[in-house]
Symmetry: C2
Subunit: 316 residues, 2 copies
């Protein structure tokens, strides 16, 4: 008989919960709100209550459940201690121990960007590979590294800050992290818009029909697809910085594949075309053939990865 | 009774062989020449003969020997397949299988730059840490990554090409790897000299007493220590590019410590002082306190790391 796994992706406003068969098939998924009040003390018990109720409703016995995986918005170390999950108002504590105490079945936990990388490796774009890297291009840029089929954690679970790879030396505006010239400043949704604004400042006469107050990254990519000059110049710069960051990452880690996900990646192949030249130029020769592909699990990457963490932990 | 381990560092001209106790104590070390003729077919049997003779001379029984570790000048994958060891004239083959067949005791093998990182973690500058990064600044720059106490291999053992992190966009000269702007072009022994020459070309009137035909990296660091203007400017640029490469690496991997070794590192603390500012500026905030230290094992890092590989393999 197939066993069950729960994959939970905890965000600042919504908790996404997926029920999986252990072979990776997603049976059902739903969302509950994230209650961040009182230092987020209800979050784990809300997840526990929801899963317990569901198991009861679907006649799923604890013995048939391998465990619960949690993808969390902060670094999680090898034993389950989370730090810096500011979106949940959490302090520092062992989230695995606490959740196992509440729910009474095995729990695994990891950072959500790492989880997305693991999810894509299990059932998505990097399926079948053991060494992969994923960049999630959203409002910011998240990074996840899978090495030998396992999430690469680094000290205190802090590895994979791919959004903060320094790619430009003459930047005068600060990144949200406090540094200057991080790739997040050019290749996130916010970054694309900022690049367009910078080009407009330097070249006020550039031809463009996308010149507007609330310009979005989608406007820029849509514009580039129709040959808009401002949009095309912006996408070129986006590709230069993103390609460089990925080339550097690949030279350091030698993965088998790089996956690009997140809202910005919905623009499609134009992303891959934009980064390709600089990616190849910035990658060590032994790795120049490492493919860069688009994610396929969309917003479900986190629940897939969370479920896969449970399998990895059970195998250890 | 203590057990024995052999650590072997195979270079293009010399093979260094160390006999260790399993607790990490180096009992003795010596060198034999590397015979690279006939596609390097004598190399493994020379090592085998040397070790076998030594075991016999010192009354070391096979049962008291945990194994032999090989640090090799090329990428080695998880099962022991080596590729691209051009200095040994080797093709692609499983070096672990072949050596075990010859010597009849367990064999472990890995890349020499990774081995040096592992050796420093075992008995050197990064002792006691599980996550570390090492850069070996020699004629070129080698890189090694230790993650969770194990060498990070990447696909086909190609991870850790830290010398080929792109740190400069306007470079017009090619790196030995074929790319432009790799940190090896500025922070290796050759790179330091090239930086000095570039400064001399751009500022022919710069004050300097180190202006000479066969300028070496040592001349530059010695000059900087006495305040020589050309040398000081060169070391500043050296530190900028090296600090940036290390900051990027630390942001991606979140190690606990970074170790700098190789001939250039003999210049001492001036190396660390030169890179510090740009290192901090280029590192993600969670990792800005990761220390950068000088290696302590010198040229023995490879044999220590090779020996440690045997222990890691025995524990798996």
């Amino acid at each position: 008989m197939k066993k069950y796994i729960w994959g939970v992706d905890v965000g600042g406003t919504t908790i996404k919960i997926g029920l999986f068969y252990s072979d990776g098939e997603l049976i059902s998924k739903y969302e509950i709100p994230t209650r961040t009040e009182n230092e987020g003390k209800f979050i784990l018990s809300d997840i526990c209550d929801s899963i317990t109720t569901n198991m009861s409703n679907h006649d799923i016995a604890k013995e048939d459940t391998i465990g619960v995986g949690l993808a969390l918005p902060g670094p999680v170390d090898a034993i389950g201690v989370i730090t810096g999950a500011v979106n949940l108002n959490w302090g520092v504590f062992n989230v695995v121990e606490e959740m196992e105490r509440l729910i009474g079945i095995p729990v695994a936990a990891g950072n959500d960007a790492n989880a997305a990388a693991l999810g894509e490796m299990w059932q998505g774009a990097s399926r079948g590979y053991l060494d992969s890297v994923m960049l999630t291009l959203g409002t910011g840029i998240g990074g996840g590294i899978v090495s030998g089929g396992e999430m690469l954690l680094g000290h205190k679970g802090s590895a994979g800050e791919l959004g903060h790879i320094r790619v430009r030396d003459d930047e005068t505006k600060r990144c949200s992290c406090g540094n200057f010239g991080c790739v997040e400043q050019y290749a996130s949704a916010t970054g694309v818009v900022n690049l367009a604004k910078e080009i407009l400042e330097n070249e006020p006469d550039v031809k463009s029909i996308i010149r507007k107050e609330n310009l979005t990254a989608k406007d820029v990519f849509d514009g580039a697809k129709t040959g808009d000059e401002l949009a095309t110049k912006t996408v070129y710069k986006f590709g230069f910085y993103l390609g460089k960051a990925i080339g550097i990452t690949v030279s350091i880690l030698a993965p088998e594949v790089v996956v690009i996900g997140g809202g910005v990646s919905k623009a499609g192949n134009i992303i891959l075309e934009a980064l390709d030249k600089t990616y190849i130029e910035s990658t060590f020769h032994a790795c120049k053939d490492v493919p860069v592909v688009l994610a396929t699990l969309g917003n479900d990457g986190g629940i897939y990865g969370a479920a896969r963490m449970v399998l990895n932990k059970a195998r250890d």
